[in-house]
Symmetry: C2
Subunit: 239 residues, 2 copies
């Protein structure tokens, strides 16, 4: 399908650019389906339908369902790291860089909620695996942050009470939790199908509108995170 004018040329030419596009179509579909149903509940057939291809076609592009998840992770994570790296590079001085990182991360979540949902929620279904499987990507993200902090410690802007790598981990934890809270607090489910949750196979409980009433402006979260990270909770000077 599609292949109109362009590809023509040198015989097999259609293979490369077209192939990549279809691969991307499948990844996009997988992203949507995983986000909606969760990895384990997502059927390969669902993804195929969503991508508009046959079940078997998926196996021409990916080794198996696991491979699909891994490739999706790699693809999206690369994008994330790119953006965060740019954000940091675009700021000057540890404080500004730290703030830029935080803001960029949360903006990313807000802008790409579907991708974020997969990275933040569904991939956790195999966090243990993912972090064992591709510590690089995830470590890369932490390293960007740790580098900023270490730099700040070197210049004396930041205290060195907390080792930079651990500080980075904690900050990531804060961001991750805020992202999670925000993602779960949005309009609950999308389409008509079964309510997605991997476990909900059994009964269907009346879906509560939002987990706790958790629903907030995520851009404000950046300020909260930045405030907590830089100045902490304690009042600086007595009242």
């Amino acid at each position: 399908m599609t292949v109109h004018s362009s590809e023509a040329r040198a015989g097999r030419a259609s293979a490369d650019p077209d192939r990549a596009a279809k691969r991307e179509r499948i990844l996009d579909a997988a992203e949507r389906v995983f986000a909606q149903r969760g990895f384990y509940a997502a059927k390969v057939a669902d993804i195929a339908r969503e991508a508009g291809v046959a079940d078997g076609t998926i196996y021409l592009y990916f080794k198996n369902k696991d491979d699909l998840l891994i490739c999706l992770f790699e693809s999206r994570m690369e994008r994330v790291i790119q953006i965060l790296g740019d954000a940091v590079a675009g700021a000057t001085g540890p404080r500004a860089q730290l703030r830029a990182f935080v803001a960029a991360y949360l903006t990313l979540i807000a802008d790409q909620p579907t991708a974020a949902e997969v990275l933040t929620i569904e991939l956790r279904q195999s966090t243990k695996f993912m972090r064992e499987y591709s510590p690089q990507r995830f470590g890369e993200l932490l390293r960007i942050l740790a580098t900023v902090i270490a730099a700040g410690q070197a210049t004396g802007d930041f205290t060195d009470q907390v080792p930079a790598p651990h500080a980075a981990r904690m900050i990531f934890g804060m961001l991750d939790e805020m992202a999670l809270a925000w993602l779960l607090g949005r309009a609950p489910r999308r389409r008509g199908q079964k309510p997605a949750s991997p476990l909900a196979t059994g009964r269907e409980r009346g879906k509560m509108p939002a987990p706790h009433g958790t629903d907030f402006d995520i851009s404000r979260a950046a300020d909260w995170v930045a405030a907590l990270v830089t100045t902490g909770l304690e009042r600086r000077s007595p009242a």
Copy 2:
């Protein structure tokens, strides 16, 4: 179908205490198996064997596999909340209470790594579901923390730049991430069986000893978290 937990009473004399004990045996077994294999990869038969009962027996105590996970969650989470509540109650003043909470949480992780693994890692396999399903328990935990913070804000010990509930979330995120890092950084796998990870069905990569070389004294983590939370990264006074 199946009994509703507490109903029994009258009927069989031995029924109640005995029954509860066996139920607990199954829960313990499930905890171990889930921690080792992950929820989806864990077979009901594995849990039965681990508990020393027949497959069918599990269904005399739990409605189904999902129910088993839910009950496990409820059981362990109750314990956690109890302990954290006590820790806070045992300290005086917002700062001390905050520190007590942090220390108690991480101590819990260190003392009960198996339970922690289930709550922190494997339950995440269905975070979306769990948090939708039982927001109470999880919210309870956050509320303990938020209450401490709000109290501190009221007394003027803490800044109110960050709304207490969100501050609580962020702190929990930090703790969670540190717990995760520590749990994943320990001696990788236990028994002989397949390497547990739900996804690793495919190839088997030479298991790296530890994700990044992440391995640290978790009790020290309490200090880091407390430091970051209370005073932040920025140096208080110029160098």
